[in-house]
Amino acid sequence: MTTPKTCPRCGTAYEPARSPHGLCLKCLIAVGMRDEGEVIVTQGAPRETAPPLDAIAPLFPELVLEEFVGQGGMGFVYRARHPELDRKVALKLLARANASDPSFVERFRREARTLARLSHPGIVTIFDSGERGGWCYLVMEYVEGANLRHLMRAAKIEPKQALSIVSQVCDALQYSHDQGIVHRDIKPENVLLDLSGRVKLADFGLARVLDRERGAFALTGSHQVMGTPHYMAPEQWEKPASVDHRADIYAVGVVFYELLTGEMPLGRFEAPSKRVQIDVRLDEIVLKSLEKQPERRYQHASDVRTDVDSVASGALPHPARAHPAGKTRAWRGPLVLASTALAWSAALVTFLAMATPHASVAELAVSLALFALITGPIAWHVAHVPAPRTAEERGAWRAAEFGFGRSFLFGLVFFVGLYITCGVLAHALGAVWYRLVPPEGGGGNFSGPFAVTQLLIGLPTLLGGWHALDLSSRSSTAWMHRRFTGFDAALTVFAASVVYLGIIAFTLRGDSFWTPWPAFVISGLALLVLVTLRIAWWPRRRAAAASA
């Protein structure tokens, strides 16, 4: 029997060996249950059921109807194939032409002709339209993929992806606005994503045709035409006749807000960055799109796109820094840098002064160069570990976190390894140097077997420590790394290295100096740096904790 596993989602303990692909069986079943998948939204008036395939097929002899795909506020959608062109199409039955309003079909045709003019990679292309068997229909490009509503339901959408989606939506909208066509019903259901993740807008302008026919629709009860009120701009409610392209921009704002926060901007809503950790610049874009007066909104979809792209192209600032409550302390960097540099140089001077009688300058120089050569890339690496941006990533970091004690131990292991390796390599190089330029009175205490032993101990320790440091740099190299990345983090590593150096000097090499006091000096300096770091970061951490 294998070890049972607990499903992180439903908390059931199960036997992975008995489950296909080790999945939780209960969750697998839950996916199939009715309330898990697409809820077919029915509210208000009773609605018609979709006409069966064989009832529709005779109306469209040029198409091979394959499957009923879904039903939305706008109508029934079938997947079909155009055998002549061998291409998949979507057939959308919009509404029964109403006998009481014969002009409806004519208006629908006119609207469809306008829509068919739209040709843009971000807009679902319309191939054919008309009226058959009492149904107004559209034959459109079939988008293999999912709509944004599905995706939002399935998983949290990351800010980066949200930016890309909004940018693409705006691009398509600007094109249609240039053609004088307003979508009027932008909502996640109408934003389709194909298999490569590209956005395609569906149901352009249909809201206008359908809205006018509110009473005439057997398909949609009055509630459904109004079915997406949250995405409607205020003027769409108040003066439906005067709606222009800026109503679409409002709807984009709502979708954007929802993508970022997972909630709708209802009532007196908060800025997105107050709800989730994102770039504050996005607040401005969202809020400007959501202005009540059209005049105060963005005037063009392309302007939204430009602003979104500019945020997306610059690296997103780290959440901690983006938080309006925590302004960057300009003095922190220089202070830490200065104290670290001071401690390092003081330690170096002491070390050189006290240790020179035992070691050659060449040895020391090589040793220090090696130290820099190894620490440099690590600092660079730590500086480039990307900060967690989403709640999930933060959760993963937290789960992997070592905690201060263990991080410190790993760091110590690393620096011990580093110290030994550097020392041995320096010895080796020094020995070569002596061989080439023999010093007076002979010299060099290089011993092959001893160095090999040292190297055997040092290298694995170094590699293990490096690995641990890499792990902890994802969680916390030193305790403060949790909150800081980039320059701050690199600085922290250097500063912390002095602390380690002090400890090593004190514990390992105290006896190799003439007197033990250089070790005390180094340790003291290390303590000084530690205190400085503490002072530099302490108030901020408290402020961050208070605002959390």
Partner: protein, 242 residues
């Protein structure tokens, strides 16, 4: 599965309803459907019989003997109360059979070399051994094994589907997202598949839809009325609880 599951409008007959409609008549289609269903879901019966305390050899004989008699008689008419669901039917029929056999003690003679289905008892037994040593009743063990078998079969069919379209790798990478949407970082999956994060999200959604469709179709095949699918799913869900 697509030929037997309900179509979009839910009008098509399910396999179990086909068997029931045929009743006692020896309609070859119905017999084939029954045989197919039994071949798919015999393993839970083995679990049941083992849980009742029979050893491996006896359990093998009993299961084979049961099918032999089931196909001989096809006496569904006598099982009115449990007709609706294949899962319940199968267990009740087996219980009847076991009761009879207990009286007659002729299990060995019946099975004798004429196996109506080719059953992999090796697999059944190894799975049986994985069963946690609980004090679950034989009925509970049966229900549980039935749910497990159904899920395993369905997932295997979806996997086959992917493999046939050359997307076996995508399936392997994405399958974890089925039970834990959002828990696996899409970035990592995207990197693994060499596509964009957006594409992963869409693909994961499609896998989910496919799984959902396949599962509902499979369940529809073992109930006599398509409207029963949700109730049966709830029953399977309950069977896995505790």
């Amino acid at each position: 599965m697509s030929t037997t599951g309900p179509d979009a409008l839910g009008f098509q007959r399910t396999r179990w309803s086909l068997v029931l409609a045929a009743g006692k008549s020896s309609d070859p289609t119905a017999r084939a459907a029954l045989s197919e269903l039994c071949a798919a879901y015999w393993m839970p019966l083995y679990h049941y019989v083992r849980r009742r305390g029979h050893d491996r050899a006896a359990a093998e004989d009993l299961v084979q003997g049961f099918f032999l008699r089931l196909f001989e008689r096809a006496d569904f008419a006598t099982l009115d109360a449990e007709r609706g669901r294949f899962r319940a039917f199968l267990l009740v029929a087996l219980k009847h059979y076991l009761a009879d056999e207990h009286d007659k003690r002729t299990a060995e003679k019946r099975g004798g070399g004429r196996a109506p289905l080719s059953l992999d008892f090796e697999r059944a037994d190894s799975q049986w051994r994985l069963e946690p040593a609980t004090d679950a009743t034989p009925e509970k063990a049966y229900e549980r094994a039935f749910a497990e078998e159904l899920l395993a079969r369905t997932l295997a069919s979806v996997e086959r589907d992917y493999a046939e379209r050359g997307e076996a790798r995508a399936f392997g990478v994405l399958v974890g997202t089925l039970t834990a949407p959002g828990a696996l970082p899409h970035r990592a999956l995207a990197a693994e598949l060499g596509v964009t994060e957006g594409a992963v999200q869409v693909a994961a959604h499609r896998l989910r839809e496919r799984w959902r469709g396949a599962l509902r179709a499979e369940v529809a095949a073992i109930v006599d009325d398509p409207t029963e699918v949700d109730a049966e799913l709830a029953a399977l869900f309950a069977a896995l609880t505790g």
